[in-house]
Structures are given as C-alpha cells and as structure tokens.
C-alpha cells in the first residue's frame, strides 16, 4: 500500500515537474463607453463602464502531441444585464500527427480574408453584446478533424449543438426600439439547439494565391427578426433560427505591396437562395521615409442581393468601404485603423476608428469610435442612429 502511494506521489511529482507544462495567461479589462446622443427608447442607458476578464489555461502533456486549452470570458456591465455575461470561449483537447489533427470541445474558428465584413465565417455564433462589429464570437462545441496533404488541407467540422446569439437588454444600446424575446427562439429544425451541423473547408495556396472553398449545412447563426404585435401584450421581436446551406469561396492574391481579396457566398434557406460578396484590396506603403511607419490603403466593395425582409438581414447590401491602416512599428506598437462604410446608392455613412498603443510592458490602451450618419427609414442601421459612441479600453495582460 505504502509502495503504491509512494509510486503515485512520485508519478504526480514527475508529471508536474517534467512531463506537464502548464501556462496561465490572459487579460483584465476596464471599458468606458460614451454615447453623446440620447437613446431612441427612454429605457436605454447611455455612458457607462464595464469590466471584463479572459483567463487562458494551457496544458501541454510534456512535448507530446496532446494539449488542453481553456479560455474563459466574463464581463460585468454597469447598465445592461444582458451584457453582463460569461462564456467558455475555448475548452478543447487537441491531438496532432504529421498530416492530421483532431480536436474535441469548444473552439473558435475563423474563415475569410476581407476586413469590412466576414461573409464566409459561419462556424461560431456572434457575441453581439460584446461589440456591434460582430468580431467577438461565442465558443462552439465541435469535433474538428484536419487532414493535411500536398494537394491542400481538408477541414471537417461536426458541430454538436447550437449557441444563441447574444443581444443587448432593455437598458442596453444597439437594439431595436422594441425588445427581442431571447428566451423563446423558433428553430426550423425539430431538434432545435441540439441539431448537429456539418461543415467542411478545403484550403490551399499556389504561389502568391491563397484560396479556400467551404460548405456549411445546419442552423444559421444569424436569426431572422419577426415583429410580433398581438393584443394585450407589449410588441416584441421573435427570433427565427432557420436551417441553411451555404457555400463560400475565399481568395487572396499577394503581389508585392498589393493584397487582392475576395469572399463570396451563396446561401439557400427557407426555400430561397441569395448571393453576397466582398471584394477589394489593401496596398501598403511600408517604412515611409525610413521612419518605420507603414500606411495601408484599403478599399472593399460589399454586395448582397438578399431580400432584407425575407432573410436574416445584412445592412451592407451595396456599400463601399475605404480605410487606412497606420502601423508605426514603434516600441509601443502604435496602430490606427480608420475607415468609412458608405451606401453609395442610398443613404448611410458609417465612419469608424480603432487605435491601440502599449503603455509600459503589459498594458494596452484602445480607443474606438463608430458613428451612424445619414441613415434612412428601412435601413437596419437606422435603428442605431442614436448609438454613436466613443470607447476607451485599458487592458492589462498577464
């Protein structure tokens, strides 16, 4: 008995000192949002602060091809109860071999090449309360298998369960004047959130040309909004999560200082089909006058032929994005991305700016501002016309 106990202790000591390597990292964030305009709905609050943490634990089984990663996220928001939330961003086991890889658990997967919107990127649900731009995602449970060969990489996804989109609550900004009922979404699939989705993606590159083809079969991450106005109750918006089939194509040509980018999708859902694309370029003037400054110029065209009242809406149906990316390449890694999205046929001008700079060795200060100008009735973003904001973030990394 003593021997077994001794052996066990020895094993634990060996594992903890030699075989295992573990790491804790992450960040803590203070965020301040300033809304200069009063809200559409009196119940909505304006300026306020919030706090967030995102710790990440990594376990590596001593140089073996097994690893575990756990990324947790939580935010407290001063006003909005729905924005006060937590999520398992990642929690997965991964094993890799020379030409294949498998992972099981919650993961975040990014597809695509363009900057102004991400059409082909459909694996993860958007954590919409985090940011209006939709870049923040909820962890998606999956079994992911990757096969790597000379002819390219094949990625297979079995998506075991659906995550509902997060929406701002009664007191939050970036919402419709009538509230969304997030408690009772309507699914097209009879297995509702338990429906298993399937996706694959083929990725390869030939010289300067990177490309991928993807296909997704399952429940759309983006819902339809159905206003319900029945007698005796306050009107509300019902969420409809329909089944869809989406094929996506992405490509990037890297030639000298030019990046040429394309993303296109065709989606079939609720009995109809639509197409959408983003196409554009990024040109970088690098190390201008030997100052280290890089100035990138971006232009993208966003086209979407969907019926905005039939399908889950996309506000960018015929827009142009022009912008500039400044990287100072200094010790503080100062960067600025400024741009404007314009509906060049209709109304709507949406300027935005993001800037970041390191302070000391472990703090990053971010500034972000978005405005909604010249919107018109019938535009999805018309509901956000009072939500111009300036955001300050102080992130401490450890």
């Amino acid at each position: 008995m003593k021997n077994i106990l001794g052996a066990f202790i020895l094993l634990v000591v060996l594992l903890s000192t030699k075989t295992y390597s573990q790491e804790l990292s992450g960040f803590a964030q203070f965020q301040l949002r300033y809304f200069p305009l009063g809200p559409l709905d009196d119940r909505q609050e304006g300026t306020g602060f919030s706090l967030a943490i995102q710790p990440e634990f990594y376990y590596d089984f001593g140089g073996s091809p097994h690893s575990l990663l756990f990324t947790f996220f939580a935010r407290y928001d001063q006003h909005d109860k729905e924005r006060t939330h937590y999520d398992i961003r990642e929690l997965f086991w991964l094993y890799y071999s020379d030409n294949w890889e498998i992972s099981v658990g919650f993961r975040k997967i990014f597809w695509g090449v363009t900057e102004s919107q991400h059409l082909v990127d459909v694996i993860n649900q958007t954590d919409f309360v985090e940011n209006f731009n939709g870049e923040q995602k909820l962890g998606q449970p999956m079994i992911n298998f990757i096969y790597i060969h000379d002819w390219g990489t094949l990625e297979l996804f079995l998506l075991t369960g659906f995550r509902e989109r997060t929406f701002p609550g009664e007191k939050g900004r970036f919402r419709f004047p009538i509230l969304i009922d997030t408690e009772n979404p309507i699914y097209e699939s009879s297995s509702e959130y338990k429906h298993i989705d399937f996706a694959f993606r083929y990725v390869n590159y030939i010289g300067p040309f990177d490309f991928a083809i993807s296909h997704f079969v399952g429940t759309s991450r983006a819902p339809r909004f159905t206003p319900i106005d029945s007698a005796g109750i306050e009107p509300y918006i019902q969420l409809n999560y329909d089944l869809m089939n989406q094929t996506g194509l992405e490509g990037q040509l890297t030639l000298g200082s030019w990046l040429w980018k394309f993303e296109g999708i065709t989606r079939h859902t609720i009995g109809k089909r639509f197409y959408a694309l983003t196409a554009g370029f990024e040109y970088t003037f690098s190390n201008i006058s030997n100052t280290g400054l890089d100035v990138g110029v971006l232009g993208e065209w966003l086209y979407d032929d969907r019926d905005q009242f039939f399908f889950p809406p996309n506000p960018f149906k015929n827009h142009v994005f022009v912008g500039s990316r400044l990287a100072f390449n200094d010790v503080q890694s100062t960067e600025i991305l400024a741009g404007v999205l314009v509906d060049y046929r209709g109304a709507g001008i949406y300027p935005s700016i993001e800037a970041s700079r390191r302070v000391g060795e472990s703090f990053i200060v971010n500034l972000e501002a978005i405005a909604f100008y010249n919107t018109e009735e019938g535009d999805l973003l018309h509901f956000f016309r009072r939500d111009n904001y300036l955001q300050l973030e102080i992130n401490w990394y450890y």
Binding site: E23, S25, F27, Y58, D60, S67, L94, Y96, D98, N99, E101, K108, I109, F110, G112, V113, E135, I146, I148, T153, V203, Y205, P208, D210, Q252, T254, G256, S257, W258, L259, T284, S286, N287, N290, G292, D294, N329, D330, V331, Q332, S333, R358, E361, S362, I364, N395, Y397, Y398
Partner: protein
C-alpha cells in the same frame, strides 16, 4: 621564323591564360567567400532557439521581447521558419511563418490569436523595423548567397581575429540599404561585424556578433547580436539561448496548422 620562336609564343600565351584564370577580380573573391561561408553552414537540418530582444532608446530606457524560433533547412531553397511571440504579453501566441526563397518574394503568414485568424502578408517590406527594434526584417531573415552581389575589399584584424572585409549589395530593390560592409573571420567564415549604409549611402547601423559557440562540431551560432543605430542613438541586443539542433523537424512543423498550434 624558327621553331623556338613559335614555342616562345605558345609559352607566353599559356602563361597569360593561366594568369587570367588565377587572378580573381574582387567581385569573384567576394562571391567565393560568401559561397564558402554558406557552404560551412549547410546541412544543419533544423534548429530551435529562445530569443530575448532588448530594445534601448537614446536615453537608455529598456523594453523586452521574448520569441521562440524554429528553423528548417530546405535543400536548394531558402529556409522555413516559425517565430512565436511570447512577450510582451499582449502579443503572446502571435506567430509568424515564413518560407524564404533564393529568388522571388518570400511566402509569409501571420497568426493573430485573438481572432484565430491566419493572414497571408506581403513580404516586400524588407526595410521596416522588426517589433519596433533596430533590426529590419531583412536583417533577421535567412541570409542566402543569391540575395547580394559581392566585392572583396581587404584583410583586416578585428579584436585580434583575422578577417576578410567585403562589401555586399542587396539584389532586392525593396532593401533599405545601398551596401553593407561585412567582416568575416578567415578561420571559420563567421560574420563578426556588419556596417549598414542607408539608401542615401550614409552609415546607418553597425551589427556585431558576440560569444560564438559551436554546435554538432560544425555549426557556429553567436549568443549575442548587437545592433546600434548611429543616426538615432537607439540599439537592440538579441540574446539567443537554448540552441538545439537535430530536433527532427519536418515540413509538417511548418504549415498553417502548426502556425495556429504554435506556442
């Protein structure tokens, strides 16, 4: 017209010919040194190391970067490398995959861990600073013979070590330099010192190599590289540790999936 005269004539021609063969131009000698230096580093297979960068401004304030580095030698082409950023903490997990080529642009991908996004990036920014340091991208990428033309200048002794001194001229028009003067030690063909001249042909930076160690009884690596910018007064030290060879790396350790897994 005698037989002797004919013989004399043939003899003179022969001597002139052999002289022509043996009298190298400075360009030929420079190239020969570069080829020999390259040859002595051939066959290392793969290597890994941990790098600490110390960035100093004019006032002497320091800032630190930590990077892990993996390299795979590719036969008849430039090396493949994977660079993983560990510090500052905000860039932790960011990784950079590069396939250098002897001719033509390199293939480069960047992994951004916050978005889980792999981006193919333009590789023609040779002259820009690497992570805010005094090292340009072209200073730290794999040095291939084909990337320069050469001219031998003279022999000189640096810190008691006999060196060849030669000038080299970048082939790539995106290079930030008109020329570099390189001191290479005669015994082992290792670079000891490099002076960089900017596009206006004024002295920009000096790089010195310190504390060379030999690995696998053949390959020399310096533990410390110091770059001083004469125009700004800033400097950067690269401190290499934990050099390992024969890790058994293969192509599968240098693709977009290993880039995402890297840490």
């Amino acid at each position: 017209m005698s037989f002797i005269n004919n013989l004399k004539y043939i003899f003179i021609v022969l001597i002139a010919f052999t002289m022509m063969l043996s009298a190298q131009t400075p360009e030929e000698k420079g190239l020969e040194i570069a080829i020999e230096a390259d040859k002595r580093d051939l066959g290392f297979g793969d290597s890994s190391s941990e790098l600490t960068m110390i960035l100093r401004n004019k006032q002497g304030d320091e800032s630190k970067r930590k990077i892990s580095n993996k390299t795979l030698e590719v036969k008849d082409d430039g090396d493949k490398s994977l660079v993983i950023f560990n510090e500052p903490r905000d860039v932790k997990g960011t990784a950079f995959l590069s396939f250098t080529h002897k001719s033509g642009p390199d293939d480069q991908w960047l992994y951004l861990p916050a978005l889980k996004r792999v981006k193919r990036i333009a590789s023609d920014n040779k002259s820009g600073p690497f992570m805010g340091s005094e090292f340009a991208y072209e200073d730290i990428s794999s040095q291939e013979v084909e990337k320069y033309t050469y001219k031998y200048l003279k022999d000189e002794t640096v810190d008691g070590i006999d060196c060849f001194v030669m000038e080299r001229y970048p082939v790539d028009e995106n290079s930030g330099y008109t020329r570099q003067i390189v001191w290479i030690d005669k015994a082992e063909y290792r670079p000891m010192k490099v002076d960089f001249y900017d596009r206006k042909n004024s002295m920009l930076k000096t790089l010195t190599y310190h504390e060379y160690k030999q690995y696998m009884d053949k390959y020399w690596r310096a533990d410390k590289l110091s770059m001083i910018n004469h125009q700004t007064g800033k400097s950067t030290d690269l401190l290499f540790a934990d050099y390992k060879f024969a890790n058994g790396f293969s192509d599968s350790d240098f693709n977009q999936n290993s880039l995402k897994r890297a840490r």
